[in-house]
């Protein structure tokens, strides 16, 4: 279970996240939606221990990230498209992470196969396309066979086949019981994928609930979103 309770983060006078509370449950894909600058990435960074909350809590399985006994086995995360040294190969990058986490190196080969990068495993990451880097980030997130996934705009840079592959993959993870929290500002990409949505704007919660509720009566997710945010449909 991924949960935020009254989470607040300020940068000087700017309130990036404001009393935000929501949950992402096991077995479900939860879409974390909002326009650019809504506070999604800041929230995810606090959940992953990269930033500190000003107030409130962001917990995974009841613990702050820094207090998790097995962080990489609890949650896998994709935050940025490029967190690699360009001079290292994908295999070398994952080997470093596996060694640091105490994970057998055979798992490196497995995750490369899962994200379909086996053929390019010995290519330097500096030569990778954005889509390949996204897949490599996902491979790193899967190294510890985590029970939950936190993904920040994971479809960025993926081609249509890649997006379809990602959808299938995340649905399979959720059906195995993982909690998947997926941030996006691309509504069309997540509409077919998510079970629940958490919509924020200016750091505040606008809506939290199931997609089924939101789209009851044949309303499209996009239309329901724009009605809630009161914004022009810029984020399609």
């Amino acid at each position: 279970m991924i949960a935020c309770r009254s989470l607040t983060k300020t940068f000087g006078r700017h309130r990036a996240v404001d009393q935000l509370s929501f949950e992402a449950c096991p077995g479900k894909v939860t879409g974390f939606l909002g326009r650019n600058g809504a506070g999604k990435t800041t929230t995810l960074r606090i959940l992953l221990g990269l930033a500190r909350p000003t107030y409130g809590s962001a917990l995974i399985d009841g613990h702050a990230y820094a207090d998790l006994r097995d962080p990489i086995g609890t949650v896998g995360a994709v935050l940025e498209a490029s967190t690699f040294h360009p001079g290292r190969t994908a295999h070398a990058h994952l080997t470093v992470l596996a060694l640091a986490a105490g994970i057998p190196l055979v798992r490196v080969v497995e995750v490369l196969r899962i994200v379909e990068l086996t053929a390019d495993a010995d290519m330097r990451v500096g030569h990778y396309s954005l889509g390949m880097r996204q897949r490599l980030s996902l491979a790193a997130a899967l190294l510890g066979k985590p029970r939950a996934l936190i993904l920040d705009e994971p479809a960025n840079g993926l081609d249509p086949q890649g997006i379809r592959w990602l959808r299938t993959f995340l649905r399979a993870r959720a059906s195995e019981g993982s909690a998947v929290l997926l941030s996006s500002h691309m509504l069309s990409e997540v509409a077919e994928l998510v079970d629940n949505v958490v919509i924020i704007d200016h750091g505040r919660l606008l809506h939290s609930g199931s997609v089924r509720e939101m789209t009851a009566g044949g309303v499209r997710l996009e239309d329901a979103y724009f009605e809630l945010t009161g914004s022009a449909p810029e984020a399609r």
Binding site: T42, A51, P71, T83, R88, T89, V96, L97, L99, A100
Partner: protein, 252 residues
């Protein structure tokens, strides 16, 4: 956890082409410095030859730069993000990196000492002189090269962790070493002997009286204590800032 991180850091060091280029550069600096002095300077007396074998330590400052590049590079290439996701305890991350770079520095220092001795012995013989430096002195110089290069690499890691901006950190170190450090030694020798370049000369224990702008040199033991203190200071500062610092969103 520390042994795992040390293995990971060692794998990172081996798998990064920059590391091997820097090791090569350190050996090249030692070889060129020793070779040029052999060709251009006197080689007959024990003092001449002690000066030559003293070049064993000059690669230390190259390893200092490697430490800076490695630690600040974690922020430049954003590899700090997966590192922290795996190991939220950042103190251990910095410690593991410092240990691995110190070990690499020690290996480079030992190899540099061997290279320097080899070039000196061959060069002195080719110039028709006898190599008269006693074995005890060679051992002391080799030990000094190992300690100085190892501490330099760890000091660089601490500096890089504090600075975070790789380009600014490398430029700052280069400006300090090439301009500020010699200027301080020239203007205030009593203060300049505590600078990294003068400490490097002290580690090589040449006993030479002509060291350019570095006219005052500490005894070997005192240099070791001072350099160890610098390294500890920057390691504490690097660890402390790493723990306090939030990891910002990539703005690239």
């Amino acid at each position: 956890m520390l042994p795992r991180l040390i293995r990971a850091e060692a794998s990172k060091l081996r798998g990064t082409p920059t590391s091997w280029w820097v090791f090569g550069a350190a050996f090249a600096v030692v070889a060129v410095s020793t070779g040029l002095s052999l060709v251009l300077g006197p080689v007959r007396t024990a003092e001449d030859q002690r000066s030559l074998v003293g070049f064993a330590s000059v690669g230390g400052l190259v390893l200092l730069l490697l430490g800076v590049v490695a630690a600040a590079g974690e922020y430049r290439h954003r590899t700090i993000v997966p590192a922290i996701l795996i190991t939220p305890r950042r103190t251990t991350l910095v410690a593991a990196q410092a240990i691995v770079y110190a070990a690499a520095g020690a290996a480079v220092g030992l190899t540099s000492a061997a290279l320097c001795m080899l070039i000196t012995v061959v060069g002195v013989t080719l110039r028709g002189a006898h190599f008269v430096v006693p074995v005890e002195h060679i051992a002391l110089v080799a030990l000094g090269a190992v300690i100085y290069t190892a501490l330099s690499a760890a000091l660089g890691v601490g500096l890089g962790a504090v600075a975070r901006n790789q380009v600014a950190a490398v430029a700052g170190v280069l400006v300090f070493l090439s301009l500020i450090d010699p200027a301080i030694s020239a203007l205030a020798p009593a203060l300049g002997r505590f600078g990294p370049s003068a400490l490097g000369i002290a580690f090589s224990d040449t006993g030479a009286t002509n060291n350019g702008p570095f006219s005052q040199i500490l005894p070997l033991w005192a240099a070791a204590v001072v350099y160890l203190a610098y390294t500890a200071l920057f390691m504490v500062a690097g660890t402390s800032t790493s723990v306090r610092r939030e990891i910002p969103t990539n703005t690239n």
